[in-house]
């Protein structure tokens, strides 16, 4: 391969890296179905989620550690919900440490999970597989809950 060909390809690739990055930061991630649920409290909750490193055990959208359950939809999950989450957050369990959280902190977490719940579904259990290997599933809001 000629040096100039290599230079040409690498320039194109580097340029497309930067362009694609900007596209992702903007149009690629513009829509957030939970946007209305972003509040001061949910913002705090998200930061707190990071500061306490909850991701070591839990997942959001299936990403994170595997010692605890995915928390994306804990607020709307059958048999769970805000009160259930509050109990766990205040007391811990055999496997989950008790963080001795304040009332405010617990509310911040609940606000954060209320927001994550509105953004989408994880894990996706009800889906259709297409012939080309892609997958479709209905958004919660489209199902009416």
């Amino acid at each position: 391969m000629k040096l100039n060909t290599k230079r040409f390809i690498i320039s194109i690739l580097i340029a497309s890296f930067f362009i694609y990055s900007v596209v992702i930061y903007t149009v690629g991630t513009r829509v957030d179905k939970g946007e209305k649920w972003i509040t001061e409290q949910s913002r705090q909750g998200k930061l707190l989620f990071q500061k306490k490193n909850c991701i070591a055990c839990h997942q959001i959208y299936g990403l994170g550690g595997f010692m605890g359950p995915d928390l994306t939809n804990v607020i709307s999950a059958l048999g769970k919900g805000p009160d259930f989450a509050k109990v766990i957050l205040s007391n811990g369990t055999e496997r989950m440490p008790n963080y001795h959280l304040s009332e405010n902190e617990i509310d911040a977490f609940i606000a954060f999970f209320t927001y994550t719940d509105k953004t989408g579904i994880s894990p996706v259990k009800d889906f259709n597989i297409n012939y080309n290997g892609t997958v479709n599933w209905k958004d919660k809001n489209e199902k009416g809950n």
């Binding site: 290599k6 580097i14 497309s16 991630t29 829509v31 989408g120 894990p123 892609t134």
Partner: protein
């Protein structure tokens, strides 16, 4: 006598790897026995494990580049001082990261769980590394072999994608969950691609040096594969986040580009017998042996990773141990095998001492044990992932009951982990001994 700085990189790397694996073993037992070794609870073990093993990957890759460049690439390092500064920054940052974990001070981001201020020295060290590297290689007028391109790419892209992984400190990124997760996994995906560039570059360099034949490293095919790899580094990361509701085309691009890896897989299989026969001729050379093992792991893992990149399969496997199987297969099976090969090449080269028969035997037994156990470890993760996926979709059992069902597999992972650590000790004992003799020699 002036001591070679790369030897210190390797020494700290081995220390990081062995302690990282030990903590990984503790963490896996914490899955089986709640409250196990509570001096370092799981919430601290996990980030310690990840950061230490990543430190191993970087220290060997970087130390190797600093050594191979002046010794074998017909250039002299632009600065001999910068590598020393780099090492110091690395170690001081490393100590700060470990301390922050032990004190429970987190930034809480997957892979980089330390507070974001510590990203500043990390970024600084990569700027120094890049400055030195580019100042050095740009004096080289003849055509670069592919590994020089790959190292350059690894350094350049690591710097930018690492900065990207810290964009969450700005509310524009952090507060919008979909954007936050998308950008986080865009950068994480590309970061892994970047260190793979450093490591695969090292593998090609080693084979080139050992065979004293640079035709492969300058071949057209090598460059086609390199550009294909780089395209994947830039565009294929969306397979980590197919279920995150960002713009649909993000997923399609990720899926489409990921499938180009089939070309790489095809090339591997096509040349398999020929390449293997050739490599087996040099199987007695310890470094070659580890590279042959990494080739086998590439075949296994690439097949797995292509499968996991198909949305119709990913929807089942995402968020299960199948993802972990892929991560462990590539970081241990591929990356670590190549990096061990680099250690086994570099240390005798620096110290001008060869492994004696007994030492070679030791390393060789360690090699077989490590690979054998890693295979069971990998299969156990695949099975754990398969059953978790199945049970989650059935939606009948509670989370704890699902965890109980897959516990036997986690047990296999924990126990094979102990064996892998033992095998690593066998492999590293002779080279560490060699380094010790070299360092105490006046």
């Amino acid at each position: 006598m002036k001591k070679e700085i790369s030897v210190y990189f390797i020494l700290f790397a081995i220390l990081a790897l062995l302690s990282g694996v030990l903590i990984g073993i503790i963490a896996s037992f914490q899955f089986i026995i709640p409250g196990f070794f509570n001096i370092i609870p799981f919430i601290k073990c996990r980030p310690l494990h990840v950061s230490l093993v990543i430190a191993w990957i970087f220290l060997v890759s970087i130390g190797g580049v600093y050594y191979y460049l002046p010794k074998y690439c017909n250039v002299s390092l632009y600065s001999d001082k910068l590598p020393k500064i780099h090492l110091w920054i690395f170690i001081l940052t490393g100590i700060s990261v470990i301390t922050s974990y032990l004190l429970g001070i987190f930034g809480g981001r997957e892979y980089w769980e330390f507070p974001p201020v510590l990203a500043i020295p990390v970024i600084l060290s990569w700027i120094l590394f890049g400055y030195n590297y580019f100042k050095t290689v740009f004096t080289k007028k003849d055509h670069w072999p592919v590994y020089l391109w790959m190292w350059a790419t690894g350094i350049f892209f690591f710097l930018f994608t690492y900065i990207e992984s810290n964009l969450w400190v700005f509310p524009y990124f952090r507060e919008h969950l979909i954007r936050d997760i998308t950008v986080q996994w865009k950068s994480n995906g590309s970061l892994v691609g970047s260190w793979n560039m450093l490591i695969y570059g090292t593998a090609i360099f080693l084979m080139d040096r050992i065979k004293e034949d640079d035709s492969i490293a300058k071949s057209r095919l090598a460059f086609v594969m390199y550009f294909l790899g780089l395209t994947n580094l830039i565009f294929n990361w969306a397979h980590h986040i197919y279920i995150v509701p960002n713009a649909p085309w993000v997923r399609y691009i990720g899926y489409g580009i990921s499938m180009t890896e089939l070309i790489i897989l095809g090339k591997l299989i096509w040349n398999w017998k020929k390449d293997l026969t050739k490599a087996l001729q040099d199987f007695h050379i310890l470094a070659v042996r580890f590279i042959v093992a990494s080739d086998v792991w590439i075949l296994l893992n690439l097949t797995l990773s292509i499968a996991l990149s198909i949305p119709a399969i990913n929807i089942f496997t995402h968020g299960t141990h199948l993802t972990v199987a892929h991560a462990m297969g590539s970081t241990i099976g591929i990356n670590t095998m190549i990096l061990i090969a680099s250690c086994l090449f570099l240390i005798p080269d620096v110290t001008k001492v060869q492994f004696n028969k007994l030492e070679a035997k030791f390393i060789s037994i360690g090699f077989w044990i490590m690979n054998g156990l890693l295979f069971f470890f990998w299969i156990a993760l695949i099975l754990a992932g398969y059953f978790k996926s199945h049970l989650v979709l059935q939606d009948k059992l509670s989370f704890q009951d699902i965890m109980l069902q897959i516990r036997p597999y986690i047990g296999v992972i924990a126990f094979t982990g102990i064996g892998i650590l033992g095998a690593m000790l066998m492999i590293f004992l002779p080279p560490v001994n060699m380094i010790k003799n070299y360092l105490i020699k006046k």
